[in-house]
Amino acid sequence: MQSAIELDHLTKVYRSLAGGKRTTALDDVSLSVAPGEVFGYLGSNGAGKTTTVKILLRLARPTHGTARLMGERPGGRIRHRIGYLPEAPYFPDFLTPVELLTFYARIFGLNGAARRQRIDHVLELVGIAGRRDSVLRTFSKGMTQRVGLAQALLNEPDILLLDEPTSGLDPLGRREIRDIILDLKEKGKTVFLNSHLLSEVELICDRVAILRRGKLMRLGTVDELVSRGGVEVVLRSNGVGLPAGLTALRCDKEDLEAGMARLIVERDDEVPSVLRAALDADVEVVSVNPQRETLEDLFVRIERGH
């Protein structure tokens, strides 16, 4: 099956005007995004995320390697099938959302009733239909972000490139945008998502890639990438200490005075025997919690070079 997005050994080196200083924004990045996938593209500032999107939009050219969208080179006709929301979008602030979308619709060649219907639909979808005739300069950052999303959805794109789509939105707005992305996924659209909000990425992305200083550090599903940290078992031993069968386990924290002990059971299949041993020794089981590293933990670990 043809990839929706394919990066093949993509490298981008920026040179200063004098030609002396070289900055490697992307270093041999290869990955592919399947059609219908929601793909999270993560990295701290300067990691190369925006450079990748710029290459996909043909706003920049790669130094080495290639980028393909639905098998086609960036630019040209493929732009009819792409929607793009930039980070902190800026639109001509003297226009109303309807005027702005009409302008973009003309660029897509949408006319007449089809144009009006499409504009009405996207304004409704992003929740700004009530402000359709207000000038953009009166809009908050969150509202502008919604206008940005509306313009990205205007042409019913197959591939959406979203750069920090929930930036500036309140929790409710973030939830709405998340729902829109999930709805797009249901419709089979491919979403390439640049975001710093790792908890959201974890919730909605099928796969993620993590970049660090232009290099691809990790690629896979969230489950594949984050390590399982075992199962936490908290016991109350009523001051008698832990039974002999349990002392061999890693004891993360033990407060014997309070009779509390927190054990980390490394393997899931050991949990039933631990619980049995505790109950047999008349030790109270307070809680059993599967431990899992978050995407944020992983991200921080990578950023710190671990």
Partner: protein, 263 residues
């Protein structure tokens, strides 16, 4: 399709000028200046002995209007694209099926349309005020306004093209400089042909003449050294075509450089 996109960009450029009151400000100033021109012309006409004085007064005021439009043309063109590049509005635009040449051409058409709106307003007032009393002078003035439009459309092309490769302020200075050179390079030839001047001065004059001929839109062909009302239509047509070709050439070169530029 390409035409639709070009017109969409042009429309947006005009809308921006209108909403930001630039177009209205320009129009009001042009109208006030033209009204002054008409009143002076009428006053001079009332005095029959000052037939030559009338022509000079009208020409002087017309130059004032022309200078005003000249400054506004530079302002509109150099501010048309750089702010959009700086604010990265162009990212969203070029992610859509809009080619860079369509964008530049759209901006050019939008700026020229603003200029045309001004020139038409001036022409309408001139026709209303002088049309009945002095049809010959009115026709001559109309011709002159048309030459203004053609020569300033070249200036817009030049300024727009320069903003695609240079910072805004530098582009404004260079386009003003080149435009000034286009008006005076003939003077360089006179200097070069004056035997009593030192060798270096004549060499400098020759340099100004040849560089001016090469890089400027030759607007002095439009405004010859004869009074505007004596310029033959045939000469002006040739000059107009030459200036339009210049506009196309500088826009094409600017767009070519812009197409290769990374945003």
């Amino acid at each position: 399709m390409a035409l639709e996109r070009v017109m969409a960009v042009a429309g947006l450029t005009m809308k921006e000028s209108a909403r930001k009151k630039v177009a209205i400000g320009m129009m009001v100033c042009s109208i006030l200046m033209t009204l002054a021109l008409g009143l002076v012309a009428r006053a001079m006409q009332a005095n029959e002995s000052s037939e030559m004085g009338l022509a000079f007064a009208v020409q002087g005021l017309l130059r004032l209007v022309a200078t005003f439009i000249w400054v506004m043309a530079i302002f509109i063109s150099v501010t048309a694209i750089p702010p959009e590049l700086e604010r990265r509005t162009t990212y969203t635009l070029f992610a859509k099926p809009l080619d860079r040449w369509e964008y530049v051409l759209g901006k050019y058409v939008g700026c020229c349309a603003l200029l045309a709106a001004n020139v038409i307003a001036i022409a309408a007032i001139v026709a209303l005020m002088l049309g009945r009393e002095d049809p010959t002078l009115t026709v001559a003035l109309m011709k002159n306004l048309a030459t203004f439009f053609i020569s300033y459309s070249a200036l817009i092309a030049l300024a727009l093209a320069l903003t695609l490769v240079l910072p805004m302020a530098v582009a404004a200075m260079v386009s003003l400089g080149l435009y000034f050179l286009s008006s005076v390079y003939g003077f360089g030839l006179q200097v070069a042909q004056t035997p009593r001047l030192p060798h270096w001065a004549r060499a400098l004059g020759a340099g100004v003449y040849h560089i001016g001929r090469l890089v400027t839109p030759r607007v002095n062909w439009l405004n010859t050294d004869r009074p505007f009302y004596e310029v033959s239509g045939h000469t002006q047509l040739e000059a107009a075509l030459c200036v339009m070709a210049y506009s196309v050439a500088v826009l094409a070169l600017g767009t070519l450089a812009f197409s290769r530029r990374e945003l």
